[in-house]
């Protein structure tokens, strides 16, 4: 297979790997998947952590490896890069829609938080730290819905 074909296949497979903690999103939606390229005779996948302490990075690496192996790409290099630093701006528009549909308020410009149930924009912060490093816990002051907020970061 020509490298171009392999890279294309690898990109498609890698883009479909889901985040272990928010499985409605792929690592491409989240901006964790940075690059898929051809490097010295093999596929190279570059990923970047969201939060420094994201415990899912190792799992993502394992998931990537097994998904790529399943597509016939066994000889793959997976590299973690720290520069430039990930930002919540990297979550795609589609990713934001998926988050909201799943009941997690996505990060919006200027720190706006919309209740994923009634769209009210006046939630109350319950806890700055939620079920994962990237989320805070809010409650809607309009409809009373408690929900996770993916922090703007």
């Amino acid at each position: 297979m020509a490298p171009a074909g392999e890279v294309e296949l690898a990109r498609r497979v890698a883009s479909a790997v889901v985040d272990p903690e928010i499985p409605v999103l792929t690592i491409a939606d989240l901006g964790i998947l940075r690059q898929v390229s051809w490097d010295e005779g093999r596929v190279r996948v570059t990923i970047t952590p969201t939060y420094s302490g994201c415990p899912a990075m190792r799992q993502i690496e394992d998931d990537l490896r097994s998904a790529l192996a399943g597509a016939g790409l066994a000889d793959v290099e997976i590299a973690t890069v720290h520069h430039p630093a990930w930002s919540s701006d990297w979550i795609t528009a589609e990713g934001r829609e998926k988050l909201a549909a799943f009941g997690i308020a996505p990060p919006l410009p200027d720190g706006v938080v919309l209740c994923p149930r009634c769209q009210s924009s006046t939630p109350r912060l319950v806890a700055r730290f939620g079920s994962t490093a990237c989320k805070a816990l809010m409650v809607c002051s309009s409809c009373g819905e408690p929900f996770d907020y993916f922090k703007e970061y």
Binding site: S52, G53, H82, V126, R128
Partner: protein, 244 residues
């Protein structure tokens, strides 16, 4: 640049990365001690999350230090296979948790320092370090929101919480001077201005005691680091090379 100065430059960078890594690892281990013991569920989760952030920063710094050093040392070598005297963390982070006020005052002192440190290092010529620092600086600001809010709540709370918070300020103040001895350029004046602002809002006072302790950056630690490392490294020391 001669080969000699290049080596010296990278050696001092490795030392700096390890020192900052040690600060973050040791504090992560301390904060982890709160898990299942915090005053409420939200705090348990908060302290666990903050510990994870610090741990992640330490891991990235150690990995980068190992790559620059070029002797094949990994993050695990730095964390699990060095002795107490080889750790370069400041004494502040190894101090025992004490009560919750003590932990929050320690966090406040450290968070204000880290915000400034990472903001400065995010402009580093070393791309990896600048990326790690850019991420860590956002996290440090978030940690500071948490610690400063608690310090105000405790200082300006009941007589008992005020007494405990002031006691913690008095006990930990002596470990703050070391934060400005490098590596990294953090302005003691700016640090103090921010601290005074928070303490003032909390109704707490900066102690009038000039006594300061140091030595951590040279590997000379208080009695507390040894037992922390003994617990943290026990598995790897007992079963060298053990893997999950």
């Amino acid at each position: 640049m001669s080969a000699e100065t290049a080596t010296t430059g990278s050696e001092s960078l490795v030392t700096a990365l390890v020192a900052h890594g040690d600060d973050n690892l040791v504090l992560a281990q301390r904060l982890g001690e709160w898990i299942s013991n915090a005053p409420e569920l939200e705090e348990d989760i908060a302290l666990g999350n903050i510990a994870l952030d610090h741990l992640g920063v330490a891991r990235a710094l150690y990995t980068h230090a190992g790559e620059i050093e070029g002797r094949g040392r990994t993050e695990d070598d730095f964390a699990m296979r060095r002795a107490e005297r080889e750790f370069l963390n400041v004494l502040l982070v190894e101090q025992p948790n004490g009560d919750f006020a003590h932990t929050m005052i320690r966090a406040l002192f450290f968070d204000v320092y880290q915000v400034d440190l990472w903001e400065g290092l995010s402009g580093s010529d070393d791309e990896t370090l600048s990326g790690i620092a850019a991420r860590a600086s956002k996290e440090a600001r978030y940690h500071l929101l948490h610690s400063s809010a608690w310090v105000v709540r405790l200082g300006d709370g009941t007589e008992e919480s005020h007494r405990r918070a002031q006691g913690a300020v008095d006990a930990l103040w002596r470990y703050t001077g070391e934060l400005f001895q490098g590596p990294g350029q953090v302005s003691p004046e700016r640090w103090r201005a921010t601290i005074e602002q928070v303490l003032d809002e909390a109704g707490l006072e900066v102690p009038d005691d000039p006594y300061q302790r140091g030595g951590g950056r040279r590997g000379l630690h208080s009695e507390h680091l040894g037992s922390l490392l003994a617990e943290m490294q026990w598995m790897q020391r007992s079963y060298p090379g053990l893997q999950w």
